[in-house]
C-alpha cells in the first residue's frame, strides 16, 4: 500500500454527499447493530471506520464505536470487513432505508 500518497488525498465530508440522497428512515429500528460493544472497543484495527462508504461507523473516545445507520447505503461492507463477526446485519424493512433516484 502506498501510505505516502495519503496526504495527497483531500479529507471529504461524506455527510455533504449523503445529503443529496433520498431516505425513508425506519426510526427506532436500526437494521445494523453491534453484537457486543466491548468487542469493538477491544478491536484495534476498526476497518469499519475506514471502509464504510457512508461514514456510519465512527471511533469514539475510549476506544468504542458509535454506529448511526441513518445514512447507510446498504452495501454490506461493514459485515464483510469485520474480522470479529460483530456486525448484526439485516436489510431494512421493505420500503425503508436508502431510495436511489438514479442508482
Amino acid at each position: 500500500m502506498n501510505m505516502l500518497a495519503e496526504p495527497l488525498l483531500p479529507s471529504v465530508n461524506v455527510e455533504e454527499k449523503l445529503f443529496q440522497d433520498r431516505y425513508r428512515v425506519d426510526v427506532g429500528r436500526p437494521h445494523i447493530k453491534l453484537r457486543d460493544a466491548a468487542v469493538c472497543t477491544a478491536c484495534a484495527a476498526k476497518p469499519c471506520t475506514v471502509c464504510c462508504p457512508a461514514g456510519c461507523w465512527r471511533a469514539v473516545e475510549g476506544g468504542g464505536i458509535d454506529l448511526v445507520v441513518d445514512g447507510c447505503l446498504e452495501c454490506g461492507t461493514c459485515r464483510l470487513v469485520c474480522d470479529e463477526a460483530n456486525v448484526d446485519w439485516n436489510y431494512p424493512r421493505g420500503g425503508f432505508g436508502i431510495l436511489f433516484k438514479f442508482g
Partner: protein
C-alpha cells in the same frame, strides 16, 4: 397459504429476466422486492448489453429508457503525478443501429423492466423484505418467509436474485459466507451537466456516448478500477477496490472518489457539474473459483447473488440477465415435461450456464483474481511505468532517442528484475490466455 410455481426474490436484472421469462412461459410467478419500487435499491455503472436483453425482450429498444449508445470506449491509466496514458476506440459502426451497448440509469431502467414483468403476468410485490427460506423436513426449499404478518409464502421453486450480499443463501446454509477478499466496494456519483456542455466535452452528438474505464494508481495500490460513463445529461463516475485490500489501509472510499474527481484528466470533464446522488454497492469479483453451489432441492441462484461477474471486462448485468433467463428456461422445460424441481433436475441450469458465455468467460479468467491478489504491483508498477515512459519519449530536450530508450529500460530494470518481468509476463499470459 398461497402457493406459486416460482418465487423470485429481487427485482434487479437477474430477477427480472427470470420472472419475465417464467411468466411468458406460463408459470405462476411471485416476485418480491424490498425497495419502494424496483430499482430504488440497485446500483450499477451502468452499461446495458443489448445482446443479453434482446434474447429476452427482442424489441426492448422501442420502450426501454436508454441514455446513450456507446460510440467510443477509452481505457485510461491514471497516476498521482496527474498523468493519463490510454487508448481510445471509436468506431463508426458502433453508431449504426442496432446499437450494441447503452448507458442506462438503473432506477429508471429497472422500473421499466419490472413493468414488462408485470405485463407478462407475474405478480410483483414491492416494499417486502424476504428474511429467510422455508424448508421441509428433508431440507427442500419450499417457500420464503417475509417480514409481513402471516408472511410465509410457498412455491415449488425459489430463485435467489437477492444481489451481491446473498444473505438468504448464506443464512439457509446453501452457500458459505461471502469473503471480503472476493468482493469489491464501488462508490459512485451522478453528476449533472447541460446536455450541450456534456456533448462538447466528450466530442459526441445525438445519442452517442463515451465510456471510460480507468486503472492505475488512483486506487493507491489496491486492486481496483474506476469508471466514467456519459448519460444524456449526466455523468456517472465511480471507483472500486477489493474489500480485502481496503480493510488493510486508511483511505476511505469517498476520499478515493474525490481523488479521481480531482485528477487532472478527469476534473475538466466534470467541472461545474451538479452532484445529485452518491451511492455504493458491492460487486462479487471472486470469479469462477469463488462461485457457490448454484442450485439445489427447490432453489436456484442467479446474477450477483451467484457471483456472475466478469471483472476483467467490467460485465455483470449481461451475465445476470442471461443466468436469469437460463434459470427460467430450465424450470419451464421441467414443468412442460412434468418433472419436479429437484436438485437432480435443476442440474440442467448449470448445464445451460456451462454452454453459454457466462461460464465460458468466468472459466477463461478464473486465474485473474488470484493473480492480482498475489501480485498487486501489476496494477501499480506497470501503469506507472507506462506513464513515465511516455513522458520521457514525448519530452523533446535535446537528448538522443537512444539515450531516452536506455533510460526507460534502465528505469524498468530498477523497478523490477528481469526475472520478475518474465515471471509477471508468464503469470499474465496464464491468467488471460
Amino acid at each position: 397459504m398461497e402457493k406459486f410455481d416460482v418465487i423470485v426474490v429481487g427485482a434487479g436484472p437477474a430477477g427480472n429476466a427470470a420472472a419475465y421469462t417464467l411468466a411468458r412461459g406460463g408459470l405462476s410467478v411471485l416476485q418480491l422486492e424490498r425497495g419502494e419500487s424496483p430499482g430504488t435499491k440497485n446500483v450499477q455503472g451502468a452499461i446495458l448489453y443489448a445482446d443479453a436483453l434482446e434474447k429476452i425482450i427482442p424489441d426492448f429498444r422501442d420502450s426501454a429508457p436508454l441514455e446513450r449508445h456507446v460510440a467510443e470506449q477509452r481505457m485510461w491509466l491514471l497516476d498521482e503525478n496527474q498523468t493519463c496514458t490510454g487508448v481510445s476506440h471509436r468506431d463508426a459502426r458502433f453508431s449504426q443501429q442496432p446499437y450494441n451497448r447503452y448507458t442506462i440509469i438503473r432506477a429508471r431502467f429497472d422500473r421499466w423492466f419490472s413493468e414488462q414483468v408485470k405485463r407478462a403476468g407475474a405478480l410483483v410485490i414491492c416494499e417486502t423484505t424476504v428474511t429467510g427460506l422455508l424448508k421441509d423436513d428433508a431440507g427442500k426449499v419450499i417457500g420464503v418467509r417475509t417480514e409481513r404478518a402471516e408472511g410465509d409464502i410457498l412455491a415449488d421453486c425459489v430463485i435467489l436474485a437477492d444481489g451481491a450480499n446473498a444473505l438468504l443463501g448464506e443464512r439457509a446454509g446453501l452457500r458459505p459466507a461471502i469473503k471480503a477478499e472476493d468482493m469489491a466496494l464501488v462508490v459512485k456519483e451522478v453528476l449533472f451537466l447541460p446536455k450541450e456542455t456534456l456533448e462538447a466535452r466528450f466530442n459526441i452528438s445525438g445519442t452517442q456516448g463515451v465510456v471510460i474505464e480507468i486503472a492505475g494508481n488512483v486506487t493507491h495500490g489496491m486492486v481496483g478500477t474506476g469508471f466514467l460513463y456519459t448519460n444524456k445529461d449526466s455523468i456517472a463516475i465511480g471507483i472500486g477496490c477489493m474489500l480485502g485490500d481496503m480493510k488493510r489501509q486508511q483511505l476511505t472510499p469517498y476520499q478515493l472518489l474525490e481523488g479521481l474527481k480531482r485528477h487532472a484528466a478527469v476534473q475538466p470533464l466534470i467541472d461545474g457539474a451538479e452532484m445529485k446522488e452518491y451511492s455504493a454497492h458491492l460487486i462479487p469479483e471472486g470469479g469462477y473459483r469463488a462461485l457457490p453451489q448454484l442450485y439445489g432441492e427447490g432453489w436456484l441462484v442467479v446474477g450477483d447473488s451467484a457471483g456472475f461477474v466478469n471483472a476483467v471486462h467490467r460485465e455483470g448485468s449481461n451475465l445476470a440477465m442471461t443466468s436469469g433467463r437460463i434459470a427460467a428456461e430450465t424450470l419451464i422445460a421441467l414443468r412442460q415435461a412434468g418433472k419436479p424441481f429437484s436438485a437432480a433436475n435443476l442440474a440442467g441450469y448449470r448445464q445451460g450456464l456451462d454452454e453459454s458465455f457466462v461460464m465460458a468467460d468466468l472459466k477463461k479468467y478464473q486465474g485473474v483474481p488470484e493473480l492480482l491478489h498475489e501480485n498487486p504491483h501489476i496494477l501499480d508498477l506497470y501503469p506507472r511505468f507506462v506513464g513515465d515512459a511516455a513522458r520521457e519519449i514525448l519530452t523533446v530536450d535535446g537528448a538522443p532517442k537512444r539515450d531516452k530508450q536506455k533510460k526507460i529500460l534502465g528505469e524498468l530494470a530498477r523497478r523490477r528484475s528481469l526475472l520478475g518481468l518474465l515471471g509477471d509476463a508468464y503469470k499474465f499470459w496464464r491468467a488471460f490466455r
